[in-house]
């Protein structure tokens, strides 16, 4: 997390779906968005939240661990890749294993799709499309120092808690400073 990565700040999401539109523009999967954009507590508020792949580090990539075809590559830089098309058997194990509900199965292609951190862009020094365009920085790409330079009162964590299980993620979550010891709850409370 000390390197450049995505920081997700649900409090800044305005629900505009620029990230969804931008994800569709990515050259490796044009026309398909890998981002989940949810409106929360509909009817009570206009709040919303984007979900991208959290690139789980510990335990490392549950999606890859359960893949019977070894189709999901985790590169040394910690990026958990989309299932490779020549290996994916469309079994949906990864869909069920992901704690964040990120991978999607295209039932016509029988192939898995998920965010690969815009590997074509990040490996060439560009920010991912979603973070580049996000009008409010709800999806931010950079280092923690770069984030804090813009938001002096923010904090970030890479720990997400599901019951007794802690997951350390490669993508960080922005929290209010001092929030719950730097751990955020996963899933629906």
């Amino acid at each position: 997390m000390m390197n450049r990565t995505l920081f997700i700040d649900p409090a800044r999401c305005i629900g505009c779906q620029a990230c969804v539109a931008a994800c569709r523009e990515c050259d490796t999967h044009r026309g398909k968005s890998m981002i989940h954009l949810d409106y929360l507590d509909v009817g009570a508020t206009v709040a919303s939240s984007p979900t991208v792949c959290m690139h789980c580090e510990d335990p490392i990539a549950p999606c890859a661990e359960v893949c019977p075809a070894d189709a999901i590559l985790v590169t040394a830089d910690g990026v958990v890749h989309e299932a490779s098309k020549e290996r994916c058997i469309g079994c949906a194990n990864c869909v069920h294993a992901c704690p964040f509900g990120v991978p999607k199965l295209d039932v016509e292609e029988m192939l898995q799709h998920k965010c690969n951190l815009c590997y074509d862009r990040t490996s060439a020094g560009l920010a991912p499309m979603c973070a580049s365009v996000c009008p409010t920085g709800s999806i931010f790409y950079g280092s923690l120092d770069e984030l804090l330079a813009q938001r002096p009162n923010a904090a970030a964590t890479d720990i997400v808690v599901f019951g007794d299980q802690e997951i350390r993620t490669g993508v960080a979550t922005v929290t209010p400073r001092g929030f719950d010891g730097g751990r955020v709850p996963g899933g629906m409370a």
Partner: protein, 763 residues
């Protein structure tokens, strides 16, 4: 789309396999990317007044096929969902690619040659002007055009047609703020660059759903908050920006001036005014002070339907700030009291001396991409280039001399846009050239507007998609999208930016300036319209604006390219531009003093009664733009928000997706309900981007502000009742013989998940 490509075919293999250099270049559903020979063309978005920088991706064949974020000062790569897909208009299958004409109303439009279309337009202009006089032919223009075209539209009307009847669709948008700025400051421009927002301590946003209408501006406002500023939002709906406000004031629509007077009441009562600033830089404070003394918080709370403590809290927050900034948009401006509402905010700003320094300021947030530039150079009924006054003898003499015509041949002020359209049926205007607007969707009381247009003897409309207005015209001339011509625009800060040409127009589509010049030539004014390019027009505009308030004479395309934008006035080529106004405490009046204007609150034109007990307000949603002629054709935007809905409070007893009929004295529409706590219980909201039987403007009132003539879109009386069948969304009009793009979307009858659209899980 693009013609067949001359290149080595890719071997037929499953996507992503084979030559690793091609890996990922094709996904399984047919998208293809070929980046060999790709160019990135720097430009700005075509949509709202933020004018975000972007690159268009152009392939080796000259086809615009994508967007790339651009690290421009305004937006630092950020874009909204409309900006990301704006490029999809360029090679869109719905584009108009040939002039269209019909001989009689009721006949279908048919493609014709440019010669035939332009000759018909010229002969109809001659016939109507010969029979009824020069003023019988009007021009109705728009502010999404490049400034070059807006200048030419005014010159075309005044010189080639010699008519006084020219106005523009900013009349539906920015005129209340413009009138207030002129009255108070003597200049009509936002006072500060938005970077000032990061330095302020209090940000007041009145009547603007910033996060949906100007998404990228949200980051400036939240950037201010991140550095400790308090955010105050006035809105009858808890919008995504209001959700994060330190003080959210959910006032009743149509009561803004009362609230703002109440805030100034608190500030004056508690001795928080800046007496030195008032004494040195303003006039008229005593009258304003006497009026606001009659707006104690209890009275204001009663009028606005809020807690009196909110008035106290906003007064204390603003009054105690060392640096504060106020912004407003259509929410307070689209009212019969629109100018007064803006003046009430200006009074607050002046009384506390919050102008002319970093973090101290004021601005309206212009709605259209070139909403600022489009109201500066003479397509407005009462204005000449350089923001000059058409009734000022010196201004008239300068422009008449510049154009080489006699001063007495320069028409005087005409009438405003809505009045102009109403004049079609009254018979004073018999013919119209329209460009860059879609009044059958965007004007209030839309049924009446359709009848007005049908009363014209001749109507020619320029557009790049067949709008609901163009489809009824006698002649439709195919024009270009923003990416197909160069031109400048001026954003909501007053910053002039340059848009580059990225592609040639499709088929026989032509730039708007070319079309106006061709008509002028046929009318015998070729020598005054001998332009070869938009840049030629810009060079003339520089001279026409020289010495005016909106002075562009020091602006060149090269300087815009080098700097990323210049703030007007720029009176010479070595002038750095003017990012922040009023730094020397001088305003644009002979005595240099700003004017206070006392404002009395009045109730909206149409009040609730037993039959119509609710207040209806209208507005935008993030995935669509204005009349929707552009965005209702783009697949991802239609998918996000396929249809309009009515937003109602749970206390009314409806469930989401229930058919709910909204009834006003003008009409009724049945929408799916979106039930939410995030709206006042006495208010209902309908978005206005859709046409025909689901056009929100079938419901709105055509009451106009007496000065600015802006319609009162934001408040009228209505009732809501359980409906039967939800009114379906008609597909956008198509040119004859065109194949629909398939982007219109299935006509679902359910409301979106939230005002911002459907979640990705619900599609």
């Amino acid at each position: 789309m693009s013609p067949a490509r001359d290149r080595t075919p890719i071997p037929v293999l499953p996507p992503g396999v084979g030559d690793f250099r091609e890996a990922g270049s094709e996904s399984a559903d047919g998208w293809r990317t070929d980046q060999r020979g790709m160019r990135l063309v720097p430009t700005h978005c075509c949509f709202c007044g933020v004018q975000c920088g972007m690159y268009l991706r152009v392939d080796a064949d000259g086809t615009v096929f994508g967007v790339e974020p651009r690290d421009h000062d305004i937006n630092r790569m950020k874009l909204c969902p409309k900006g990301v897909v704006a490029y999809q208009q360029v090679a869109h299958p719905d584009r108009l690619v040939a002039p269209l004409m019909r001989d009689r109303r009721g006949d279908p439009l048919r493609p014709v040659s440019w010669e035939a279309a332009l000759d018909r337009v010229a002969s109809e202009i001659r016939r109507i002007q010969d029979a009824y006089g020069r003023d019988a032919f009007g021009v109705y223009s728009g502010s999404s055009l490049a400034t070059e075209v807006t200048y030419l539209a005014g010159k075309f009307a005044r010189v080639a047609l010699g008519t006084k009847h020219v106005d523009y669709n900013g009349r539906l948008c920015m005129v209340s703020a413009a009138a207030a700025n002129k009255k108070a400051f003597g200049i009509d421009r936002a006072a500060n660059p938005w970077s000032d927002i990061l330095q302020t301590q209090v940000i007041l946003v009145a009547g603007s759903n910033v996060a949906e209408c100007f998404p990228v501006m949200t980051n400036y406002i939240w950037g201010g908050r991140d550095r400790g500023a308090s955010l105050i939002v006035l809105d009858p709906r808890e919008t995504p920006l209001a959700r994060t406000a330190d003080v959210f004031v959910p006032l009743r629509p149509g009561t803004d001036a009362a609230f703002l007077n109440g805030v100034l009441h608190v500030i004056e009562r508690d001795g928080l005014t800046d007496e030195a600033y008032i004494a040195e830089h303003t006039t008229g404070w005593e009258q304003v002070r006497d009026v606001v003394r009659t707006y104690p918080p209890e009275r204001v709370a009663e009028i606005c339907g809020i807690d009196a403590a909110l008035v106290e809290r906003v007064g204390a927050t603003w009054g105690n700030a060392e640096r504060a900034m106020a912004f407003h948009a259509r929410g307070i401006e689209h009212q019969a009291l629109g100018v007064e509402n803006a003046l009430a905010i200006i009074n607050l700003v002046l009384a506390t001396g919050q102008l002319g320094a970093e973090g101290k300021g004021y601005g309206t947030i212009t709605g259209q991409g070139n909403g600022q530039g489009g109201r500066e150079h003479g397509q407005k009924a009462d204005q000449l280039p350089g923001a000059r006054d058409i009734e000022d003898p010196d201004h008239r003499a300068y422009i008449a001399g510049f154009w080489g015509i006699a001063e007495e041949d320069l028409p005087h002020a005409g009438i405003s846009a809505v009045e102009l359209v109403h004049a079609f049926r009254e018979g004073t205007v018999k013919g119209l050239l329209g460009l860059c607007n879609n009044p059958l969707v965007s004007m209030p009381n839309a049924d009446r507007i359709a009848a007005d247009y049908d009363a014209l003897e001749f109507h020619v409309q320029l557009d790049f998609f067949l709008s609901e207005t163009a489809e009824r015209a006698d002649v439709v001339l195919p024009s270009v999208v923003w990416a197909e011509d160069a031109g400048v625009s001026t954003n909501a800060e007053g910053r002039i930016v340059l848009r580059h040409k990225a592609a040639d127009p499709p088929g026989e589509a032509r730039p708007d300036w070319w079309i106006l010049c061709e008509i002028a030539r046929r009318l015998g004014h070729g020598e005054r319209f001998a332009f070869e390019s938009a840049r030629d027009v810009f060079e003339e505009l520089r001279g026409a604006s020289a010495g005016g308030l909106a002075d562009y004479s020091g602006v060149t395309y090269e300087r815009l390219e080098e700097t990323g934008g210049l703030f007007w006035p720029v009176p010479s080529e070595d002038h750095p531009g003017t990012p922040r106004l009023f730094e020397d405490g001088r305003f644009f009046f002979p005595d240099g003093r700003a004017r206070f204007n006392a404002v009395e609150w009045r109730a909206p034109t149409e009040l609730e009664d037993a039959d119509f007990p609710m207040r209806l307000t209208t507005g935008r949603t993030v995935a669509h733009f204005l009349s929707g002629n552009q965005t209702r054709r783009i697949g991802s935007l239609v998918e996000q928000t396929p249809r309009p809905w009515v937003e109602v409070h749970p206390s009314l007893g409806f469930a989401t997706d229930d058919p709910v009929r909204v009834v006003t004295r003008r009409g009724s529409i049945t929408f799916p309900a979106l039930v939410t706590d995030a709206i006042r219980a006495d208010t209902v909201f309908v978005p206005y981007h859709w046409a025909k039987q689901v056009a929100a403007n079938l419901l709105t009132i055509d009451a106009l502000h007496p000065i600015s003539k802006i319609p009162e879109y934001k408040v009228c009386a209505c009732r809501v009742e359980r409906g039967e069948a939800i009114d379906p969304v008609p597909p956008p009009p198509q040119a004859p013989g065109a194949t629909p793009s398939g982007n219109e979307g299935a006509d679902g009858l359910e409301a979106p998940t939230a005002p911002q659209g459907k979640g990705t899980g619900e599609r």
